[in-house]
């Protein structure tokens, strides 16, 4: 067997054993043997990654607030329709939705991905059901629907990489 002696050093950032000639650490990507510019770039990227995590947390939080808002909207519209149309079915359906959304909002603290995805899918279903019952309802309050949907979608995608943590 050929005897190759490779000197090993420890990466100054993550203490992984790396070859002394290697320019980059194989574990964290730190340019151990690179120039100042490359090292600065590494640190800048690290800060950006951290910011992204911070942004994700913010998006998840605003998605959770969206869930509380939706529970409120369902409650108000359910009561409104009950007193104007005197329709007990709509009231019961809306009250179930209010409870489900409050549960999802609470659950989103433990499992943000699962809770927000459920909320998104349920909201799409509510829109679909209303469309079936009254096709013109699809365009009623379309702006609010789009805003709520966009908050939920942002929340779901921000929560998905964190799902296993």
């Amino acid at each position: 067997m050929e005897d190759v002696t490779v000197t090993k050093i420890l990466c100054s950032q993550c203490n992984t054993e790396i070859n002394s000639e290697a320019k980059f650490c194989t574990h964290c990507g730190y340019p151990e043997n690179g120039d100042e510019k490359e090292k600065a770039k590494f640190h800048a990227n690290k800060v950006m990654q951290k910011n992204k995590g911070f942004n994700d947390a913010k998006k998840i939080k605003s998605a959770r607030n969206t869930l509380y808002w939706m529970a409120g909207i369902f409650l108000v519209s359910g009561l409104f329709l009950f007193f104007t149309l005197n329709d007990i079915t709509i009231l019961v359906a809306n009250l179930i939705l209010v409870v489900v959304y409050l549960i999802l909002a609470y659950w989103s603290k433990q499992k943000p991905f699962a809770a927000l995805l459920s909320a998104l899918l349920l909201f799409l279903m509510v829109i679909a059901l209303n469309t079936v019952l009254d096709p013109s309802s699809l365009f009623k309050g379309i702006l609010i629907k789009i805003i709520l949907l966009s908050f939920l979608i942002k929340g779901v995608y921000s929560a998905s990489p964190n799902a296993k943590r």
Binding site: I18, N19, A22, K23, F24, C25, T26, H27, C28, G29, P31, G34, E38, I88, T89, V92, A93, I96, L97, V100, K111, F113, A114, L117, S118, L120, L121, L122, L124, M125, A128, L129, T131, V132, P135, V156, Y157, S160, P161, A163, K164
Partner: protein
């Protein structure tokens, strides 16, 4: 292994290339969001199909439209499943013989079916003052019982299990933990049944089916439970229909 950025030979199992600093570890995040895209696409396609089907049913039904719509829904499920055929095919293996499980799988649906049938009938009657009979939809067709059995007791177990416990379960498993996967598949399964009231029983039913799929890595147990459950509900509807009308 060869670095994609600088084409140098590099070791396996490292995160960054030592020569050029490029990230070589397969980026988990991008593959995760592609599974998520697939899940949401599948759900939206199902929703659009359900709305269209519902609007077509309102125009009036015939055996012909029934067959066409059923075929389209089957094609949607098969189309999505084809994207992940390798992993789904594995789920059609029978689990190693544990007689107790099979016994349970044959007995459990008797309880669920009777429980669900009478409670739902009670709730529907108390709340909406109406009774719904699935069999009544098929009475006007020739060979009505045959079509009812096919569309209510055979197709749903086969294709719903494939769609929700097969395709959707596999996709969700790649983005999240097993327990969340079971809960979400049950939730989506309950949602696409298109009724707020059915959420009450279809959700726990979906949890049971999802748990069996997870524990035994097979679709057969779920298919057997689902089939017997639907068959009993249909038989009860058939019995009461002939009794009252």
């Amino acid at each position: 292994m060869i670095c994609r950025a600088c084409k140098n030979q590099i070791e396996n199992r490292i995160n960054y290339c030592p020569n050029c600093g490029a990230l070589v570890k397969k980026t988990e995040q991008s593959s995760k969001s592609s599974h998520l895209n697939l899940i949401i696409t599948f759900y939206i396609v199902e929703l659009v199909f359900l709305i269209t089907a519902f609007l077509i049913y309102q125009e009036g039904t015939s055996l012909y439209t029934e067959i066409v719509l059923e075929s389209i829904s089957i094609l949607i499920v098969l189309g999505f499943s084809a994207l992940d055929i390798k992993n789904i095919a594995k789920l059609y293996k029978f689990p190693r013989g544990n007689t107790l499980i099979y016994l349970g799988v044959f007995i459990a649906p008797f309880f669920t079916a009777f429980l669900v049938y009478y409670t739902m009938d009670y709730i529907n009657f108390e709340l909406f003052e109406e009774r719904y009979n699935y069999y009544a939809d098929y009475v006007t067709y020739p060979n009505s019982l045959l079509w009812a059995v096919l569309f209510l007791a055979i197709f749903p177990p086969v294709f719903e299990e494939l769609a929700y416990r097969g395709f959707l379960f596999n996709q969700l498993q790649k983005v999240t933990t097993p327990s969340v996967t079971i809960i979400l598949t049950a939730f989506i399964f309950a949602l696409v049944h298109f009724s707020v009231i059915s959420l009450v029983w279809i959700f726990p039913f979906g949890l049971l089916l999802g748990y069996l799929r997870y524990k035994y890595a097979t679709l057969w147990l779920g298919m057997i439970i689902h089939f017997i459950h639907n068959l009993i509900v249909l038989s009860l509807d058939y019995y009461y229909f002939n009794l009252y009308y």
